[in-house]
Symmetry: C2
């Protein structure tokens, strides 16, 4: 036995986390071993607190500690426009722009036949139910990849007959990058989506 | 507020871990949020168990759940040879070779004037106390970098007068690599350390 069992068990548990391989798990476990008890307790308490207190909003499926969430309850948000995203963390990405003042709808995933994720696995019914109550525009902000595109196309087909404006976020070369590094598909989308200046 | 506070606190705690930046911490926090409660409990219990049960061996400073550790207690290990390493995780790296049958001594770091780590901060006294009780060779297996080299040279000076054979692990080109990718210093060490075949 090269190391005591509790450490082996911790390494095993850490390896289950996304992006943590065998080497990282070992480095983290040894770090935890070295860290003062109080600081480690703050970590385990934070983990437990998230599991105890954070739930999903019954309206938009965003994460929240009160239901409905702050966005759905707020009187300062524009209720005529809903931004559809795949995951709760995408909401933070959009909020960081400080530009969007509408509401959100989190699908909790994207269509992916390969992973066996179909329309019934996503929170689509709730979205359709929300459209019609004064909603004028639905922005499809699913990821700019195969699954996100398929999901956006699927949703557009369902939403358009409901008489709502459906838009898709722009794809193109990222700001601050160099055209030399843009892949063909992105470059193509960037040319296609050009706008008059 | 773009996300509920417990999640923010968890992200903050996760960011304190080595190699975990803001993005990784957020991804981990959302993963924990999605993971079933029982599995998350297994992680927090594994963390607590490591803090509760794992201590350091009073002889060699390796991590252990019983004092002295399995190596120091074992009757199958060669007590004439001590391998000196910087950190407890280095012991596993050497054990994996299944070649070394001697004892270990963990320094708990390496000399680093830049980080203010001097000889008194390392477990050197314990090592000197162990040499002399039938020990015939001390292998210096500190890291092959500036700090590890300095520590090895410092230890060699202290150990040689005690009448013990002092050796340093070989440095050279890694097995399975390509000479094209070897840096100058490694290549130099590899040539210098050449052996007759």
């Amino acid at each position: 036995m090269s190391r005591p069992d509790p450490l082996g068990r911790l390494v095993e548990q850490l390896q289950r986390l996304p992006g943590i391989g065998a080497k990282s798990a070992q480095r983290l476990a040894f770090h935890i071993l070295k860290t003062p008890r109080e600081q480690v307790d703050r970590l385990t308490e934070a983990i437990s607190e998230v599991k105890d207190r954070v739930t999903y909003c019954s309206v938009c499926n965003n994460i929240t500690d009160a239901d409905p969430c702050t966005f759905c309850r707020s009187e300062n948000r524009d209720r005529q426009i809903i931004c559809v995203v795949e995951e709760p963390q995408n909401v933070s990405a959009i909020e960081k722009t400080r530009e969007f003042k509408g509401l959100y709808h989190v699908l909790m995933g994207a269509l992916s036949p390969l992973q066996g994720i179909g329309p019934d696995d996503l929170k689509i019914k709730g979205l359709l139910g929300r459209v019609g109550h004064g909603v004028e525009e639905v922005i499809l902000a699913t990821n700019p990849n195969v699954e996100g595109e398929a999901t956006a196309i699927y949703l557009a087909r369902l939403l358009k007959p409901l008489g709502v404006k459906v838009t898709r976020i722009a794809m193109g070369v990222p700001v601050g990058s160099d055209l030399d590094y843009a892949d063909e598909v992105t470059m193509h989308r960037s040319m296609e989506g050009r706008r008059e200046v």
